[in-house]
Symmetry: C2
Subunit: 213 residues, 2 copies
Amino acid sequence: MGRETVFDDAPQPPRRRGRPAKANSLADNTRSSIVTAAAEEFSRDGYDATSMRGIARAASVDPALVRHYFSDKADLFSEAIAAPMRPDVMVTHALAGPRDEIGVNIVRYIVETLDNPAAGARIIRLLHTALGQEFAASMLREFMMREVLKRIARELGEKDSEARASFAATQLIGLVVARYGLKIEPLASASPDEVINHIGPIVQWHLMGSPLP
Amino acid sequence: MGRETVFDDAPQPPRRRGRPAKANSLADNTRSSIVTAAAEEFSRDGYDATSMRGIARAASVDPALVRHYFSDKADLFSEAIAAPMRPDVMVTHALAGPRDEIGVNIVRYIVETLDNPAAGARIIRLLHTALGQEFAASMLREFMMREVLKRIARELGEKDSEARASFAATQLIGLVVARYGLKIEPLASASPDEVINHIGPIVQWHLMGSPLP
């Protein structure tokens, strides 16, 4: 308790998802102590080596209670670092649609989420932390690789899918840094549709080699 | 003097370029005081609003002396922030070659420069600073737009060239962040040729819409 965590600059208490506003304070406290324990466990052991069970132990609660509040480790991690978006959810949704729209769907999710100024600023703070601390970078990398890139690779099923996914990540990360961090023009002021129409096919090409328009 | 500058975390004194190792110490001191004054001027006024003449005045030297040591403002800026590469030089070189090799040439320059671990780490420290301070971001943005994107746009001559250049920047920035900052695999361990062959055509497409392989 009270130990410093790597991504401890969250602007506000962890958001609550899908729960009534007047939840009783005992549940609030339990949930909050799970998030605090998770932040400490992740910051000490990294993403891969941390388990839901270990977090439950650190929070002195039953593992079933952790699973009651959080669907999986990615969910808990996203909440612990106050991530403004869930790249693993984005990928799952994008992969569920038509194959030739994966790139556009991923970019749309990113732009529609991060064009909210608070969300855009938050993702940049997370990247700022990751670029300044090797451990934060490794934690974010483990999360990205396990929950995002490997899922895409598994779904695409090609032998070079992991390479393709990591190359696609470069385009997406660069979009985020340039539009929301450095705010390079005219990109930063371009409409969501312009960005989606331009970057979506590039991501599609990275992933599947489909012809560009 | 002694005022804090925005990019003041340079790991070592500014490098010397194209000068004999045994330059006399008076010249060394003059040159060093110009760089110090430049860092302060840029950090106070930003890239666009700073002039070679103003830097000369701040360093109490003749403007001709500033031009003796530094070919232009971009040169002085790059040295003031201890940049490990000159994106404006990269662009000038890339644009001088065959039009259909611009993308590959830009990516080759970036990868060959930043695969040096010290250079890769330095560019990430610069990006880290830029993502953490709005003024540093604006300075880097002004430099990128004036010295890189507008040059590309001018050379391409299409009406949407500035947009194209800013979209190309997303791919290049993302490559740098993912390979040298987050170190996402298998990208981070890919050979220079793999990276150049994959990302080069994407940059080409961003800039000129040429068909991808």
